[in-house]
Symmetry: C2
Subunit: 331 residues, 2 copies
Amino acid sequence: MNKDFQIVGIGNAMVDILARCDDAFLSDAGVEKGIMQLIDMDRAVDLYSRIGPAREVSGGSAANTIAVIAQLGGRTAYVGKVKDDQLGQIFTHDLRAIGATYETSLAPKDHEAETGRCIVLVTPDGERSMNTYLGVTEFLAPEDIDDAQMAQAEWIYLEGYRFDGPDSKAAFAKAIDACKGAGGRVSLTLSDPFCIERHRDSFRQMIIDGVDLLFCNRAELLSMYQTDDFETALAQCGTEVDILACTDSENGAHVLAAGERWHLPVAPVEIVDATGAGDAFAGAFLWGLAEGHALDICGRMGNVAAGSVIQHIGPRPEADLRALFEKGGLV
Amino acid sequence: MNKDFQIVGIGNAMVDILARCDDAFLSDAGVEKGIMQLIDMDRAVDLYSRIGPAREVSGGSAANTIAVIAQLGGRTAYVGKVKDDQLGQIFTHDLRAIGATYETSLAPKDHEAETGRCIVLVTPDGERSMNTYLGVTEFLAPEDIDDAQMAQAEWIYLEGYRFDGPDSKAAFAKAIDACKGAGGRVSLTLSDPFCIERHRDSFRQMIIDGVDLLFCNRAELLSMYQTDDFETALAQCGTEVDILACTDSENGAHVLAAGERWHLPVAPVEIVDATGAGDAFAGAFLWGLAEGHALDICGRMGNVAAGSVIQHIGPRPEADLRALFEKGGLV
């Protein structure tokens, strides 16, 4: 293939507000630990007033994935809606500065919503609890999807979180049609167990109809297939997609494809902040795949990238991933 | 004294945009290394488009100092102008969240300027090169100074950078009068050699007329007294203020007061990012002084705080400074 883009990601565009807290704070503030919860602007203002000093960094699940691909030198673009405000400028700057293409039209300055943000509370165990005000990213619509861009994608990468919002499914359907119609392939991440609760049937239909590569973690896979048995869920899902890449925290990752299966363990590391671990895994995996590496190597690349991002505060890798791949004998 | 505030700081309120770069980038972009340079919005937009991915954290020299005092549990307030925009919300949140009082009226949403920001470029040697768009902080005026608040300050702390701007000197004069009239004392930081070039005569007059405690570093002291001889400058300045606290990078700090002099060395540390080192020194020193510690102990506290802040990216301490003081036998 000789397309403009190896991977085009579509997701919820947002800036992360990262702050540390203890478990008692989460309880007092009514924040459920370890998941992504949607909040409205009033709740965002209230919660923000209660957290300690924070730092702001570009986030958004698929955007983090695309940032990894761009850092590795991949040809990649991102589609997600921000407003023409200061946080929107931060988001678009950071993506473009790392080498990704960003052409989504900005929501105008008089849009009643603002650029989305996620208050990420990091507890001493490194777990992150996310509180997302979607803002204008909720309104990404089919007209924001450029058929020509999708047709120029070897892969598109769809973020499960992006299913929240009025026109989300129509936007994804348009992207899938344009990509597949031009011979491209479709990857999806399930994002979060509670996201699956909201959209299980739609996810399932999309997986069966058109997903070639599925990313998820153990909890998401179990939720998706409504079972407590990991092996059952892996086996079932493995029959429904060409490639399944399922992360499993300190147990590493499982990759299934064409009747083959690899378990790719990880070395233990101290977790400072788990934010972005799954995103980084997907980015490195997709880059490896687009570059023609074997699936087990792609999985190992994903492990290295995830292991790097959890060792510091913030959702995007700060280390030179290519250097880490070289050190690990992966490239 | 039984005043509401131990220290009230007045300075340029801004959010830092922190990015790494190499020395070649500084040359190509026309950024002078190691100093603070003022830039306009056009230059800010152009420079921002050229730097890599960044992170945003609240900054501002005096605000960093006040944040240190608040972290240590001091009774402290900050006066500096931001706009009612997203960066302004970040700045005020972070100060209040750490325990400082912030009551300055916000510039309205229709003000033509935005909240100030500083593009801080950090080179591999840990040096920081600052590019400041003042924005609305330039317009802090006498009417933003609350006489009653200044009268309730044991100390006011004035940031030299804040001399840039049309009403700055009048605002400082008002603050000094209100503070001194109520028996309070005045401290000043010289901020930057090039800032001194712009305002040497005004600084000198203020030092002679009303500054009780002066903070500076070696380069600033030499610039202030237009000499190459450090000892001469120290001696001269020592006759003009009650207390002189002069930092000297890896050589530690010199404190002069009432004919006495202390040299307070520092242990060598790896410098990741020098941003905020002087601010942290001043904050810890002022807190120590307000708490009644001896001047040499205040200087050592300043060294500990500065040494902590330079070991990570970002201008405000992330470590528990009180715990570090306890470990060092200072409290």
